[in-house]
């Protein structure tokens, strides 16, 4: 044992140096050209404001960023994606990548701020924070803050509320009368908010009565009680004269139900659209992703409920391979610590069935580990019973928001219902934090993204074992280490043949035979029967070593090259001389 120790230490040092170029030289903070945008993360931004901020970052950090529109929405808005890559450490596609998007659902707006926060944080932290510097030197970040640009715009402009709009703007004949989107919400009182409508009726004709504790709210009558109020619903008219109010609103193609994996038609999965990725927003991303197979980890922000979600989306979907669950569970459970109140959940089991979800597409088609964070829950569970009631929301409004979140009831003459009252909570209640809480929410979610990025596969080639087995003939065993949690090729991708395997080649010598070493001590090797010069490797799992075997004819020195779509490329020179590194020699 003793003689091995120093060599191991040296090897580990060499390995560290090779793995992190920042180890040996101090990285300088990036010096912006002009003033970088002074973004505030204690407020929401319109789509235009976010586009301007992205342009600002691109202008201030031209060498490090690439701003591109990867497609256009139905209404012609650009899908702005910013790429952050250190050009000094290699090209984009040669490095593992983290993809982040937000605001897929129109009303789930703060994902865009969280995504934008990461852009700002990365560019300003490089050279200051070693952990961030290392990530930025070895990996690429692709960030698309607003997926549903049309929907975000409508949410800000109105008519909108906490739940509407959710989908993209593709018109759908929801009530199947041959007319598209002809009976949506109306801001009947013109105050800029879609709130509730209620009506006082003669005693006995109602289903509700005023809450005796708070007359702003109605309570349902109990058996044995008479009611004198009815709850009509959201603000709106019967615009199309069919006896129904707000039954054919804008949409409904749900951009988180249109993705390619486990897609089911509309009658099985509401919001599916006519076929997978039938809307330009998600199709543009899917096509972009096909051209960026280096993406190994994904975050797609939603709200709400404080969850770190992974697939499968549906019970009938194939179970996740245990090898991949190791990484998922590590990240999910660590995430629960970074995000107090958040729970690491499986979509179909802990939440509900989702066919055609974003995370399933990225995992089951692209072979990338994907999470959806459901951001925020109103911190108003004052009685700590696990649920936030209407009363508690009202208390939050009164005592923390000082009444800002509530629109007082006002009388209004409705064309169908006559005299009614209009009022209720504003659109940001329940799903979106107020400014003072938004910044913390974005930072903590950003920390989870950076945890994912930290665990992107990091490959290095260790000390090879070289043994002479004949004239100019060498048996070489090469350990390839992945010291992070995410595999260089996910098991789901290996099993489903989703993309090519990692490829190991040797230059400077002739490869007579090659294979994968199952056990270097017992000499168990799976020989690749054909084409030994191009060894196909089903990835290196997270925090593990895969040992390659080569029978090489040659002299002097050869180079072993390892090329992984998601794990990057590494090479190492190996001297062809007995090095006593094999188990037998050191015994």
């Amino acid at each position: 044992m003793r003689p091995r120790t120093p060599r191991l230490v040296l090897g580990a040092l060499a390995l560290l140096a090779a793995a992190s170029p920042s180890f040996l030289r101090a990285a300088e903070p990036i010096r912006p050209q002009g003033n970088p945008p002074a973004a505030s993360f204690n407020r929401l931004h319109t789509y235009e404001e976010i586009a301007d901020l992205l342009k600002g970052y691109a202008a201030a950090y031209p060498k490090w960023t690439k701003l591109e529109s990867i497609g256009k929405t139905l209404q012609g808005r650009d899908l702005w994606m910013i790429t952050i890559n250190n050009p000094a450490t290699g090209s984009e596609l040669s490095k593992p990548a983290m993809y982040v998007d937000g605001n897929t659902h129109a009303n789930e707006v703060q994902g865009a701020e969280a995504a934008l926060y990461t852009v700002d944080y990365l560019l300003k932290s490089y050279g200051n924070l070693p952990r961030v510097t290392e990530m930025m030197d070895r990996s690429v970040f692709y960030i698309l803050p607003v997926v549903n640009a049309d929907g975000r715009t409508l949410w800000f402009k109105g008519p909108s509320d906490a739940d509407f709009p959710r989908t993209v703007m593709q018109p759908v004949d929801d009530d199947r009368d041959g007319k598209l989107d002809e009976d949506g919400f109306d801001d009947v009182d013109g105050d800029g908010f879609v709130t509730e409508m209620r009506k006082k009726v003669p005693m006995g004709q109602g289903t509700h009565r005023l809450d005796p504790k708070d007359r702003r709210m109605l309570v349902e009558v109990q058996p044995g009680e008479l009611g004198d109020w009815i709850q009509i619903g959201k603000e709106g008219y019967d615009n199309d004269g069919d006896g129904r109010v707000n039954e054919d609103t804008v949409g409904y193609v749900d951009p988180n139900r249109t993705w390619g994996f486990s897609w089911e038609p509309e009658y099985v999965q509401a919001g599916a659209g006519n076929y997978p990725l039938a809307i330009p927003e998600t199709r543009s991303i899917a096509m972009w992703a096909l051209a960026h197979p280096n993406v190994a980890a994904v975050q797609s922000y939603h709200n709400n409920g404080q969850m770190i979600l992974r697939g499968p989306g549906a019970k009938a979907d194939p179970p996740y391979p245990p090898q991949d669950l190791k990484a998922y569970d590590l990240l999910g459970k660590e995430g629960e610590k970074l995000l107090p109140g958040y729970r690491y959940f499986i979509s179909w089991k802990d939440l509900y069935t989702v066919h055609g979800g974003t995370t399933d597409h990225f995992f089951n088609i692209m072979g990338a580990l994907a999470f959806t964070n459901e951001m925020y829950n109103p911190p108003a569970d004052f009685d700590k019973n696990g649920e936030v009631s209407q009363e508690e929301l009202m208390k939050f409004n009164d005592l923390l928001s000082m009444g800002r979140q509530w629109v007082e009831w006002k009388p209004y003459k409705h064309p169908q219902y006559g005299m009614i009252e209009v009022g209720g909570f504003k659109r940001d209640v329940g799903r979106v934090p107020e400014g003072w809480a938004l910044e913390e929410e974005t930072h903590r979610n950003n920390a989870f993204v950076l945890l994912n990025a930290y665990h992107l596969p990091q490959l290095s080639i260790g000390e090879a074992t070289v043994q002479k087995v004949g004239d100019r003939l060498w048996k070489v065993e090469v350990p390839v280490l992945n010291d992070r949690a995410i595999a260089s090729m996910a098991a789901v991708a290996v099993n489903g043949k989703l993309h090519r395997q990692d490829i190991a080649t040797v230059t400077g010598g002739k490869v007579i035979s090659s294979g994968l070493v199952d056990n270097p001590y017992l000499d168990k090797i799976q020989i690749q029967e054909h084409r030994p010069e191009r060894l196909m490797v089903p990835g290196v799992e997270g925090t593990s070593t895969r040992t390659l075997f080569f029978l090489i004819q040659g002299d002097g020195e050869v180079t072993v090259n390892y090329d992984s779509l998601k794990g990057g490329k590494v090479s190492k020179k190996i001297a062809l001389r007995e090095n006593g590194m094999d188990a037998k020699a050191s015994m």
Binding site: D173, R176, D177, G178, G241, D242, G243, R244, E247, W259, G260, F261, W263, E264, P265, E266, Y267, V268, Q269, A270, N274, Y275, P276, L277, A278, A286, L290, K315, A316, T353, H361, N364, I365, G496, K497, H499, R500, Q501, I503, E529, H530, R531, R534, M536, D563
Partner: protein, 695 residues
């Protein structure tokens, strides 16, 4: 033996020279010169558009992966309703890529429609019906029929790394024997899973444990292992298969594409058809035939008839169900439909199914199959009249196919027809496998008298069949039998001792495994000579010895034009016949009864007087179409006193389906009462009556 040696020598020499093909004349290939290559299809469509500018409109609905246009020809009579609002038939051909017979059938249909003389049945049909005909839906693969070499290709021009080795298209097939076609290659391999048929060694059959048939060959596509990975021809130019890229039962695979609708051909069709909901009936000309063999399920769950559901606890409490109990959809709906919550929120049965997690339908609904069965009857009759085989096997469509999508998701009545297939062999009266054929066992069971009664001719044939040496002819046997020196059983025992018996030795029965292939081979030899290439030895560059040969890859789908011609006509007739069966919404009656004070009761009945239902049962389940709508026009002196001016029905059955609407109106004298009935794929009708003094 000598021949074999010389072959080996030649093969070795060829290998030494780095040649792959064995020297020798190439077999004369089948001629497809009468088929239309893509450029010809294009030229023809443009010509028809020019010749019949009023009736024929050439639409380009997209581009293939290889950049070729995807055409749909719209044929409709002039005048009247906008063609895109008339009930329509969609005919799509050769999305498979190798089904060029379908292209020919589609062209024949367009020609017949475009050139329909005034007053002809086709012209009459065109006055009220629109045809969308797409003759070449997979243009990147279309020309492989004529290709050098010819091969069966289903994929478009997309670059695909089939074997996932990081290299694209590096190991395609090679025409090793220079016959112009990519056939098959067999390599001696006891683990290969194939062997030569015992009846006809040219045919390959699958190894089978239960039948005690050991494997002898590995069978692959003809060609070298260009990339040296041990696989033959696993990564050619073939791209994504559009006919495996549709979203019903989509197979996640390299050929199927990363997601359904990925192939531009598929997406173009999806967009085109979703943009035209007037299509009531769809015919796909492709390799399957649903009228010769009823469509089978492509798997999955979601059969509503038997599926049972647990009502989620919260909803169960709300709706009054036991959350532990399992119910069918009908049981749940019976209770749920009358709950105030369900009524007030217009919750439909379909939404409830969705909420409970009912999967997609996987079987053709019996109500729709009943129509298909009727189609099948008249189709087979028509084939028979045209002298075409109507009892040959019909293939099934595949996962992610165009036809199942048309039915299950688009909601059209849809059939796939293969236009032509190798007919079943006609059974000759004296065929050895016929029921009355004289086998050894049958003969052994006969009395001497019965055997002698067969007569000299039949006995001679029997002896010859069982390889009895020529000196024992019928005459000798008969004289022995007459003399009592031998009886039929004794004779059969002797024959068996001598090693006789009909080939193959042993059972005396031809092998069942190779039966259909032998039938195909026999047909090919008689009708398409050159479509079978005899097996020939080759030596591959890596030294592997193999044999190349077998059926032309397209022989079973695309026959010589002379053979195909009558089938084209029969299929054009079939489509015209089906097009006459479209649903047709009409107003059957409109009655206005005065109730006094300028108040009238208006009662209108709409009905479907077409043969097909307005919607398939599956369309109803999938909500693929909007309901039939009967509307009373208000305004202009007509005021509705209560309710809403329309009624709807999800589906009107063919011939008998009706929808009635009743309204109370106040109308000015002389005002017009107008009702109209419509649905997106069964046309529109309107009726008017005037409120007068007499009314």
């Amino acid at each position: 033996m000598k021949e074999k040696l010389s072959r080996l020598r030649t093969a070795a020499a060829a290998a030494a020279l780095g040649l792959t093909a064995l020297a020798g004349p190439a077999v004369a290939a089948v001629s497809y010169q009468d088929y239309h290559p893509f450029a010809e299809v294009e030229r023809q469509l443009q010509a028809w558009g020019k010749d019949h500018p009023q009736e024929v409109k050439l639409l380009t609905i997209g581009k293939s992966a290889g950049g070729r246009p995807i055409y749909v020809v719209r044929v409709a009579g002039t005048g009247g309703t906008n063609p895109d609002d008339r009930p329509a038939v969609f005919v799509g051909a050769n999305i498979a890529g190798y089904h060029n017979a379908g292209t020919e059938a589609a062209l024949d249909l367009i020609k017949t429609l475009a050139a329909a003389p005034a007053g002809s049945p086709a012209a009459k049909l065109l006055a009220s019906t629109t045809f969308y005909v797409a003759p070449a839906l997979n243009p990147d693969a279309q020309d492989t029929l004529f290709g050098a070499p010819r091969l069966r290709r289903g994929g478009n021009g997309q670059k695909v790394d089939h074997d996932m080795d990081g290299l694209v298209g590096e190991d395609g097939p090679d025409d090793l024997n220079g016959d112009g076609a990519i056939t098959r290659m067999r390599i001696a391999d006891s683990a290969g899973g194939w062997l030569a048929d015992s009846t006809d060694p040219r045919v390959l059959v699958k190894a089978d444990s239960m039948e005690q048939r050991p494997g002898a060959y590995r069978v692959v596509v003809e060609g070298k292992d260009d990339d040296g990975d041990g696989e033959y021809n696993e990564d050619g130019a073939d791209g994504v298969w559009p006919d495996r890229n549709f979203p019903h039962a989509f197979p996640y695979s390299v050929e199927g594409g990363p997601w359904s609708s990925y192939a531009p051909e598929t997406k173009a069709l999806l967009d085109f058809l979703f943009g035209r909901r007037n299509v009531a009936l769809a015919v796909v000309y492709g390799p399957a035939n649903n009228l010769l063999a009823a469509p089978q399920s492509l798997g999955g769950g979601g059969d509503l008839g038997t599926q049972k559901f647990k009502v989620p606890p919260q909803a169960a409490k709300f709706l009054g169900f036991d959350p532990e109990q399992e119910y069918t959809i009908d049981q749940i709906w019976e209770v749920a439909q009358n709950l105030p919550f369900v009524r007030q929120n217009d919750i439909t049965k379909e939404q409830l199914q969705q909420f409970l997690g009912a999967g997609a339908a996987t079987k053709v609904d019996p109500g729709d199959q009943a129509y298909l069965d009727k189609f099948a009857e008249s189709y087979k009759e028509r084939l028979k009249k045209a002298g075409l085989s109507n009892d040959r096997p019909g293939a099934q469509y595949g996962k992610g196919g165009f036809t199942p999508w048309l039915y299950y998701q688009y909601g059209a009545m849809a059939v796939e027809l293969d236009v032509w297939g190798v007919p079943k062999a006609e059974k000759k009266a004296d065929a050895k496998d016929a029921g009355d054929a004289l086998t050894l066992d049958k003969a052994a069971a006969m009395t001497s008298e019965e055997f002698m009664a067969l007569g000299e001719e039949k006995i001679d044939a029997f002896l010859k069949e069982n390889k009895v040496p020529a000196q024992f002819n019928a005459k000798t046997v008969l004289s022995f039998m007459k003399g009592g020196q031998i009886d039929p059983k004794g004779m059969v025992d002797r024959i068996k001792q001598m090693g006789g018996g009909a080939s193959p030795a042993g059972g005396g029965k031809p092998s069942e495994a190779g039966a259909r292939d032998r039938e195909v081979l026999a047909w090919v030899e008689a009708n398409a000579p050159g479509a079978f290439t005899p097996w020939k030895a080759v030596t591959l560059p890596d030294g592997t010895k193999a044999e190349v040969g077998g059926l032309d890859p397209l022989a079973e789908l695309d026959p010589p034009m002379a053979v195909l011609k009558p089938a084209l006509a029969a299929h054009t007739e079939t489509v015209l016949d089906l097009a006459g069966k479209l649903p047709k919404v009409e107003i059957l009656s409109l009655d206005v009864t005065p109730l006094g004070g300028g108040v009238y009761r208006v009662k209108a009945v709409a009905g479907n007087r077409g043969y097909l239902a307005t919607h398939t049962k599956q369309a109803e389940r999938a909500h693929a179409h909007i309901p039939v709508r009967l509307t009373l026009q208000t305004g202009k002196g007509v005021e509705l006193l209560t309710g809403y001016p329309f009624v709807t029905a999800e589906r009107l059955e063919g011939t008998t389906g009706t929808l009635a609407g009743e309204w109370l109106v106040r109308a000015d004298e002389g005002a017009k009462i107008v009702v109209d009935a419509t649905t997106d794929n069964a046309g529109r009708d309107q009726k008017t009556t005037t409120v007068g003094k007499g009314a």
